[in-house]
């Protein structure tokens, strides 16, 4: 048994870890050790990737490429491949993943199972939109090949399916054309939510990526930094990748706390505002700013942290975001990594995909006393009232009824569920 934690480090329960590696033994491993759950890089924050006291099928060593068509930009790879490796392989050849989350240290399988989104949702939708085909192994040994035009119901269940429909072992992904690794970027300071939403609306047409940091402790207004970027025409190759710095150990208490947060936020805002304007940036620091500090999650101390990420439908987005931020400011609980962004109106491919047209807010909170902050219940109320939803990839505590309410296609998904797969999340939110 091995202790395995997810990114939020709230707990590290023991797991029976089985490495998936040799292709010819996949079915044997998956059928023999149940109930199990696929585990990629554990970059999910909550319990979606954990299966306490039971099996985890580790996919990290299942990371070989099978084919890359440089004419069409179609890549076939095993499910444990890192998005980082796909980017580094394809960008020098003029192709890039159309969608990546805020870290590239995730596997293809994990990106599909949570149907992850990036800063360009308004342009490219979610990860699943670019999966042409995937291969699923079920715990009864059945092999299912599916895609948007081949057994599309299985594809829709598996994209965003939280790993519950089977183990994805292989995928075919459509990449998109790029000139090179560089982005033209612009950073703008804003001082109210109105300004944020106006900037968002105005940027969606001409900019590939948009995202904003917001100072959630600012009681006077809502100041923040709006960042946008589009692929640059420069063909200059990437500099040699640097080894990231690393948080070498876990401090005894969270470094993110009431004392540190306000000066943190003030300094960050001032610094970035000072350097606001246009620039050219390599895609890695712009798209994955935190990847440069390995193990940054240790900063929150031994008790770990919660992330709260919701999406509010567009009709109520401005008003509800203001109320969410007010609740947060009032609680004095704060988050350094407060991210605000709007999703486009593209329909998500998966039955349980998180993205929908609206505004999404994501915040981190240190766990104190082993409990989520009481604040979350007040935030839930706003999400519930507006018909929004929470992101399972970030969740360790949402109430069942909020999950059901946010995901009306849940019952449909359950008909595709693999009975040999369970997770801590499925036990918390689904099992009787």
């Amino acid at each position: 048994m091995r202790a395995v934690a997810s990114w939020g480090r709230l707990s590290a329960p023991p797991h029976d870890c089985i490495a998936l590696h040799e292709r010819e033994r996949l079915i044997e491993h998956i059928t023999r050790h149940t109930p199990g759950l696929a585990f990629g890089m554990g970059r999910s924050y909550g319990d979606v990737c954990l299966n306490s006291n039971a099996t985890l099928w580790m996919t990290r060593a299942l990371d070989r490429f099978l084919a890359f068509d440089e004419q069409k930009g179609v890549l076939v790879c095993e499910a444990g491949c890192l998005l980082r490796d796909i980017q580094r392989l394809s960008i020098p050849r003029g192709w890039m993943l159309p969608v990546t989350p805020g870290t590239q240290w995730v596997t293809v399988g994990g990106a599909i199972a949570n149907d992850v989104h990036g800063k360009n949702h308004h342009r490219q939708g979610s990860f699943g939109d670019h999966v042409k085909r995937l291969r699923l192994v079920r715990t009864d040994g059945e092999l299912i090949e599916c895609g948007p035009d081949q057994r599309p119901d299985w594809y829709a269940a598996t994209v965003g399916g939280l790993g519950l429909t089977g183990v994805i072992v292989q995928a075919e992904i459509q990449l998109c054309r790029v000139q090179g690794p560089w982005l033209d970027t612009e950073t703008l300071a804003y001082t109210s939510l109105e300004e944020f939403f106006d900037l968002s609306d105005a940027s969606e047409k001409d900019w590939e990526h948009t995202v904003a940091w917001i100072d959630c402790l600012d009681r006077r207004g809502h100041r923040g930094l709006f960042m946008r970027a589009s692929p640059a025409d420069t063909q200059e190759p990437s500099p040699a990748p640097r080894q990231p710095l690393s948080m070498p150990f876990t401090p005894p208490v969270s470094l993110v706390n009431r004392l540190s947060l306000r000066p943190f936020n003030m300094a960050y805002y001032a610094l970035k505002k000072h350097r606001a304007g246009r620039a050219q940036a390599h895609y890695e620091p712009f798209l994955y700013p935190l990847d440069n500090l390995a193990h940054w999650n240790r900063m929150y101390g031994p008790q770990g942290f919660y992330q709260y990420q919701c999406v509010i439908p567009m009709v109520d987005a401005r008003e509800a975001t203001r109320r969410l931020l007010e609740e947060i400011a009032r609680s004095g609980e704060g988050s350094f990594l407060a991210v605000l962004k709007t999703f486009g109106d593209r329909r998500s491919p998966g039955m349980l995909s998180f993205p929908r047209h609206g505004a999404t807010l994501a915040l981190d909170f240190p766990a104190r006393g082993g409990r989520p902050p009481r604040l979350f219940e007040r935030l839930d109320a706003i999400v519930r009232e507006t018909g929004g939803r929470l992101y399972p990839a970030k969740d360790a505590r949402m109430p069942r009824e909020l999950f059901r309410a946010g995901y009306p296609r849940l019952d449909e998904l359950l008909t595709y569920r693999d009975p040999g797969i369970q997770s801590d999340m499925s036990r918390r939110l689904l099992e009787e």
Binding site: R2, A3, D16, C17, E22, R23, R64, F65, L89
Partner: protein, 247 residues
């Protein structure tokens, strides 16, 4: 045109060797020959490396790993294909120590695959390198070979054998262009250790140390580097202290 560098990987499907191969095709365009017991696994690896670098020349060859005549025949077939610049012997297997204590058959197989087999491969390749007059031969031992411990001494003894073997080869080739490199990884995140409890180094980092160290012809590579100091302490602990440790 100069010949591409020819690199040979024995036990090529091991995660550590696979990651070394990725670095080699990423940083240059060598000719790689992959040797292992399973043709399908070798082919999967070769396909991956060809996607990573379509210009690299990748060959696979199924080999024999226990029978001495078979090892000789495998190496003869490899060396018949021309000069070899660099060879890495990487195969190994880590079974549960307590099972080895009950089952002599398993203990035998463990000593054989981790000790005898790589040593015989090294011997056969050493002959080739001696005739060639240059080349780098790497052997993957382990920190487990530095001092016998109750938790893994069957495996550790076999790895210890490689330590002495590599020392001997280094002595033999001291005044030639042939370099022998002994690699001692600490616990590394690979399928070999997936089920075990503990802290593991990322296999990519270990592979990078190996590739860099072999390039320099380092005699002994501890990877990650901190294990050099840790094992120096462990080797020198007096028995009355060592025996109290649960390692």
């Amino acid at each position: 045109m100069p010949h591409p560098r020819h690199i040979l990987l024995i036990g090529a499907t091991s995660a550590i060797a696979e990651h070394c191969a990725r670095l080699w095709v990423q940083e240059g365009t060598p000719r790689l020959t992959l040797v292992g017991r399973s043709p399908e696994r070798l082919e999967a690896l070769a396909t991956d490396l060809r996607v990573r670098n379509p210009q690299a020349e990748i060959h696979t060859q199924a080999g024999e790993f226990t029978d001495p005549a078979g090892i000789r025949a495998t190496v003869d077939r490899l060396t018949a294909q021309g000069p070899i610049d660099l060879a890495l012997i990487a195969h190994g297997s880590l079974p549960d120590q307590s099972l080895c204590q009950q089952d002599l058959q398993l203990a035998h197989a463990t000593l054989e695959i981790n000790g005898l087999s790589p040593a015989l491969y090294a011997e056969a390749l050493a002959g080739h390198f001696a005739r060639q007059g240059y080349g780098t031969l790497g052997l993957i031992g382990s920190v487990a070979g530095d001092r016998g411990r109750r938790s893994n001494y069957v495996y550790g003894a076999a790895k210890g054998l490689l330590t002495r073997y590599a020392q001997g080869l280094q002595h033999r080739f001291a005044h030639s262009g042939v370099r022998v490199v002994l690699i001692k990884p600490g616990p590394t995140e690979t399928p070999m250790t997936a089920g075990l409890e503990g802290r593991f180094a990322p296999v990519e980092d270990v592979a990078r140390d190996i590739v860099r160290g072999m390039e320099k012809g380092q005699r002994v590579i501890y990877t990650p580097g901190k294990w050099r100091l840790i094992m120096c302490v462990i080797r020198h602990l007096p028995a009355f202290v060592f025996n109290r440790m649960n390692i």
